[in-house]
Amino acid sequence: MFERLNDILPRVTKPARYTGGEYNAVVKDHATVAVKFALAFPDTYEIGMSNLGVRILYHTLNCRPDTAAERVFAPWTDMEDQMRRNDIPLFTLETRTPLREFDIIGFSLGYELAYTAMLNMLDLAGLPVRASERGDDAPLVIAGGCCTVNPEPIAEFIDAFVVGEGEDIVHEIVDLVKAHKSEGKSELLKRLALLHGVYVPSLYEVSYNDDGTVREVVPKDDSVPKVVTRRIVWDLENAPFPERPVIPFIETVHDRIALEIMRGCSRGCRFCQAGTVYRPVRERSREKLMETAKTQVESTGYDEIALTSLSATDYREIRDLVSEIIETYGPEKIGVSLPSIRVDAPCVELAHEIQKVRKSGLTLAPEAGTQRMRDVINKNVTEEDLFSAVEEAFKCGWQTIKLYFMIGLPTETDEDVRGISKLAMKVAQIGRRVMGRKPTVNVSISNFVPKPHTPFQWSAQDTIEELERKATLARYAITDRAVKLSWHEARTSVLEGVLARGDRRVGEAVYLAWKKGCRFDAWHEHFNFDAWLAAFEESGVDPAFYAHRARSIDEVLPWDHIDCGVTKRFLMAENERAQRGEVTQDCRLDRCSGCGLTRLMPRGEDIDVPCPAGAAS
């Protein structure tokens, strides 16, 4: 079957995507393991290899002597053509084992536009894409990642979802599969459904109201929990972290050591799904991080350590940590990078400090152009914060600054949109004043997509026309040649909006879109919106109903049976505060904002959970 692989690899772009054999890849003899686990990522090798979640699961699963975890990514279209033409089924990189010979296929879903790629991978594996059509001999197909906080649009394709963090639960799943795989899938699924954090969609019934909204999602029998609660790794300090990550031969998106310094963010930006679904904030100790950095430097050979987290500069000892890393690894020419920095002068100063070893660009995210708009989204950044930050940056020698904004936010007016351009031009003026010549201010505008489990989950998303109008408005309001604007395509954002807040019926549209050839929707060259429109039409799914409709506050949402820890009541209160333009302070700096997460805290266990609300309760 694979003899032909050598003939087709020379004909595809970047063949090293498909060969495996990378340094630190773990190859196990399948005769010695009880469970074979395929870690599937529904995008290219370069994107998937940059994903920290996949790296963590690969590490922790392969630490088990009874389990072989192997990687598989979505083949690019040229490779797919060759595979289909030569009857080569989708295989894993480590041992070239066809996917259908695995016990478990676990997809990592971080982006809704990857759904069609996931179906395509199942199909390339020779498996029916619908869970109901896969027999007992087919692998168990599971999915995790932040998309699973609303699993409904892909419920019919997946046997079981993992809601929340995977480090612990993945072992419970492997144990179950190991012990019960001979019992048949329906037995196995019933057992899985009882694990905390697992959602087995086939065991739930969805009913609808006459107006098309969801009436209820209920378990088909009493043994299954009514609500699935997100799994949280409370003790991040001792959670598994890759010691010997696989080093890709080809250049990937993030070709560096990823040191996860903390998880979760308590800033409470109202548009941000990660801000709710990764709560609470947990920091790893400096000692632990230095230890991990040492292991990774020795095992990878990378020349950069990225301190990753949703907001790295909120790590309490960030300065000390950065200094210690520079002191230790600077002489070896290993640099540090901070992928996310807060918009203020001290943080820019810190970003400057880390440039002693290696230089990189500077990106700041004010997110909105006016104070009113920033208050609505609870982005606690003032114009003064931004101006002092960029002043510091220009003084430090940066000549180019990148600014991130969003358009299409709830309550947004044209004044708010033009505010983006005005703010960027003021930044350029500061650059001129400080440097005495023209800076470059790159403004990147993305389209707001309302996401489940956020205060804006009830909001209407702007239409494509409206988003395009606003982008044009922002563009024409720029009269300074130092400011360059780039803008994200509106059609993909609206599609993302439909899939993010879809219910189970949207699955049919996903299926039809894939049937019509959609597979790399996030890739401009393969995005086929007409195919999606046809799929919506045929399936009777009205995209406007899902994307552009404001939900009433008492509507049953398709994801109400998934509890992420943050209560619906809190989200409603935040939504109301947003409408009034009232900000809510970061609960790590101020009082507990009552998000509801403390309900999920383990009782009586001796672990230090740095959620101040938790400490107070």
């Binding site: 970047k14 063949p15 060969t19 340094y23 070709d255 050979g301 440039q355």
Partner: protein
């Protein structure tokens, strides 16, 4: 400053790595092996590491040559052992020699390569037939082949074929050993010869290309 010359094997397992990726892979291995390589100055310090003649995707080799500048002296045996303990399977340092101080890098003089090209051929093919076609090709005033990259262009490779030294042919398999002038200013590639030969002897299909050695003409 200390300078060493390394010879690297690129095996089957890693033959699909492109040249730049090979360089990056080697750079990672240098750091894992803690080789005291010297770094360039500037905003983005790079190890002082130079590769001779880029190798193609899908091509294996027994003679990739690398010159390394070291910040401190290290025994050649130790460099070789440490690197071989840090390279992915398929890459192997075959030897390391220290270059005398003040000597110019020997890499720039390398302007030719010998390749072993393995092709599938029609079963009726034999050595005489192939030899005749090869001689005919070499006797031609010019040998034009089409190269497809960003744009399709035709080039004359004849001046850059130094010779076809050995031909083995049996059981539908043809192995040619040939020397080519290489380098950025033109040069010919083994794929070019295969294409040109296929024009005269249809039914050839490249199965493998191996760089035997690099040398100076």
């Amino acid at each position: 400053m200390f300078r060493v010359l390394l010879r690297l094997r690129k095996g089957e397992q890693v033959k699909y790595i492109a040249h730049l990726d090979l360089m990056r892979t080697f750079e990672h291995a240098l750091r894992r092996a803690r080789i005291p390589v010297a770094y360039s100055e500037g905003f983005n310090p790079r190890p002082k590491m130079h590769f001779a003649g880029a190798i193609g995707v899908g091509v294996t080799s027994d003679d990739e040559r690398i010159v390394l500048d070291l910040a401190e002296r290290a025994p050649v045996k130790e460099i070789m052992d440490r690197l071989n303990g840090s390279l992915p399977a398929g890459l192997e340092v075959l030897d390391v020699e220290e270059l005398p101080e003040g000597v110019k890098s020997p890499l720039s003089r390398l302007n030719a390569s010998e390749y072993r090209i393995t092709l599938r051929c029609p079963a009726r093919c034999d050595e005489q037939t192939v030899r005749a076609k090869v001689d005919e090709l070499l006797a031609a005033p010019e040998v034009r082949v089409v190269r497809k990259r960003d744009e399709t262009k035709e080039v004359d490779i004849r001046p850059n074929i130094l010779g076809v030294d050995a031909i083995e042919c049996s059981g539908g398999k043809l192995v040619l050993t040939a020397r080519f002038r290489s380098g950025s200013s033109g040069g010919a590639r083994p794929q070019d010869l295969a294409q040109a030969l296929n024009d005269r002897l249809p039914g050839l299909d490249v199965e493998g290309i191996h760089r035997v050695r690099q040398f100076e003409v």
